[in-house]
């Protein structure tokens, strides 16, 4: 059963990453502190706004915090699972990727999930706990139906983030240089901490349709809050599935390009 093999392999990726993290415990503790600092400062900033400001871009300050928490969650999940994206271009340059290609396991799977981030996995526990605590104390009205749609759209958002990661990997194959692109993407996605609708054009269009951060974070949150979404749920799901399929196609194409088909 291939699925079982993939699960076993992924388990070992995780265990090996864990061991590596423990070996380099010094710098990993510092990373942890950095992440906690960032999370705490973001929260301090949000609560400062909440305490001093009544409304934010048409939302109550409580609603605004939900946008941030959604961003935090989706970002964390992608960091945990897709950490491999960060080191991939290096692996192409060093030839490790050649070795992946000779193995009886999907090179895309390995490139994406080869290095689960242990720091973020550990960090997820307190951050989820804090998020739930804050969420339960917010003055917002959530219905069961909107919650279900929210979960579906968050799943759709994870599909989009997978697609973006695959896109970055493909660029890594073609150009062997992705550090810059990753950072720009990280910065763009951090703009999703606030509702995308507040940004000016053409940035707003870019964040909804080119790098669909808005579809990933803003629309699920709007649906959860019972606000009329910026774009329809249908369109959001089309963008999600569409970008995922497109990214797979692009991966195949760049793999062929790498191997010299048609060049």
């Amino acid at each position: 059963m291939r699925l079982k093999t993939y699960f076993n392999v992924w388990k070992i990726f995780g265990l090996n990453s864990l061991q590596e993290t423990l070996v380099n415990r010094g710098s990993n503790i510092l990373f942890m502190i950095g992440k906690i600092l960032r999370f705490s400062f973001s929260l301090i900033f949000l609560f400062l706004i909440k305490n001093n400001v009544n409304s934010f871009a048409g939302y109550t300050s409580d609603q605004m915090i939900v946008f941030f928490l959604t961003y935090q969650f989706i970002d964390l999940i992608s960091q945990i699972f897709f950490r491999g994206t960060y080191i991939f271009s290096n692996e192409v340059r060093s030839g490790s990727f050649d070795a992946y290609l000779t193995k009886p396991i999907s090179p895309l799977f390995r490139a994406l999930t080869g290095k689960p981030d242990i720091n973020d996995t550990i960090f997820m526990i307190p951050s989820l706990a804090v998020s739930f605590y804050i969420f339960s104390n917010l003055n917002i009205s959530v219905t069961w139906i909107s919650l279900v749609w929210y979960l579906i759209l968050v799943a759709n958002g994870l599909l989009i983030i997978t697609a973006i990661n695959i896109l970055i990997l493909s660029i890594g194959i073609l150009t062997t240089e992705t550090e810059g692109i990753i950072w720009i993407y990280r910065d763009l996605s951090s703009m999703g901490r606030f509702p995308i609708g507040m940004y000016m054009q053409p940035l707003k269009f870019i964040l909804f349709f080119i790098i669909p951060i808005g579809m990933m974070i803003t629309i699920p949150t709007e649906v959860l809050l019972g606000v009329k979404p910026s774009f329809s749920i249908f369109l959001t799901i089309v963008v999600g599935i569409g970008s995922f399929i497109a990214s797979l196609k692009f991966w195949d194409w760049s793999l062929k390009k790498y191997s010299g088909v048609g060049s």
């Binding site: 392999v9 990726f13 061991q19 590596e20 050649d98 070795a99 009886p104």
Partner: protein
């Protein structure tokens, strides 16, 4: 082809294989970079140009040629990493490019300068990863691992961080990682590069043993003629993408060597000038000398010398194979 045994199965078959790369030429300087935005002139590099060969089960074949001759490109096409521009390849009955799981489970590619082990972890962890990837059953894994680590004498270092191992130890672990799934076909690209003489010898012995015990088919490229001389009965010589020789290593001498070496010990000392009329004097010391003489006239010259001088000892030897090959490639370094 005298080295192909007809009663054996053909494992690797390559016919009219070509790989052309298109590279674009950039004019130097910033201006050139800007120009290249809209206008690029391309150049076609023929990395592999019309190469054909067959390799039967259990053979060890050496690829020799200069850097950039097309050896690694050929190996990469046989591994399914590169897509051939033209021609057919078949390994174990599969087209490597399809990268079928059943195929990938039966072969391994080892690149001497590349590292597939997790740097910060002991090698054993990388072995476990490969066990999962290749779906190796526990029992087979344990047996293979203990056997391989015994032969290579690495039992003690499997639990030490890879970064703390010496280059040789690392290479041994690298080889084990590649062989855990008992591949029937093995491509070794510069397996002994950077290793000291003792370690080179260990690895060569190991490759020989592996070939005998598992009946594995092996293609090897190497920097060191020593590897090829000791391991490969048959060699394929590649130059500028073309196959220029395919056959017994020993036969290269018959085919290409133009000279032989005459070494003499004389009764009385003679003048260097007196010997130079017979051939190129390579060394001359007291009453010992070595001469390089045209191959065909070696015996004739020897008898002339015997007539003219009082000779205590005279030997006619073949030129070392390294020298012959260096001559073929025009005095450049062999890789």
């Amino acid at each position: 082809m005298n080295s192909t045994k007809n009663n054996k199965k053909i494992t690797i078959k390559v016919s009219n294989l070509k790989k052309y790369f298109k590279v674009y030429k950039k004019e130097p300087g910033l201006l050139g970079s800007i120009k290249s935005l809209w206008k690029r002139s391309y150049e076609t590099v023929k990395a592999v140009d019309d190469v054909s060969f067959e390799i039967t089960e259990g053979e060890i074949v050496g690829f020799i040629g200069q850097n950039g001759a097309g050896k690694t490109t050929t190996l990469k096409m046989l591994s399914g990493l590169l897509y051939p521009t033209e021609g057919e390849t078949s390994v174990l009955g599969f087209n490597p490019w399809d990268r079928k799981t059943e195929f990938q489970k039966q072969f391994a590619l080892v690149m001497g300068q590349k590292n597939q082990l997790w740097w910060d972890l002991p090698a054993i962890e990388s072995f476990h990863l490969n066990k999962a990837i290749y779906e190796i059953p526990d029992k087979v894994f344990d047996e293979t691992l203990s056997k391989l680590s015994k032969i290579l004498d690495v039992e003690d270092i499997l639990r030490i961080q890879v970064r703390k191992l010496s280059l040789g130890q690392r290479m041994k672990c690298e080889i084990i990682a590649a062989l855990l799934h008992n591949p029937k076909v093995l491509f070794l690209d510069e397996p002994t590069i950077g290793l000291d003489v003792v370690m080179q010898k260990t690895l060569r012995d190991f490759i020989k043993t592996y070939n005998k015990e598992f009946g594995a088919t092996i293609i090897l490229t190497s920097h060191y003629m020593g590897d090829v001389k000791e391991l490969c009965e048959r060699v394929i010589m590649i130059d500028k993408g073309h196959k220029i020789y395919d056959g017994n290593l020993a036969d290269i001498i018959n085919k290409y060597a133009r000279n032989k070496i005459l070494s003499l010990t004389l009764e009385n000392s003679v003048l260097r000038k007196d010997l130079e009329q017979f051939g190129k004097v390579k060394s001359f010391k007291n009453n010992q000398a070595t001469l390089i003489v045209p191959r065909k006239e070696a015996t004739k010259i020897a008898s002339k010398i015997l007539n003219q001088f009082k000779v205590n000892d005279l030997n006619i030897e073949e030129v070392p194979i390294e020298v012959v090959i260096r001559e073929i490639f025009g005095d450049k370094k062999i890789h």
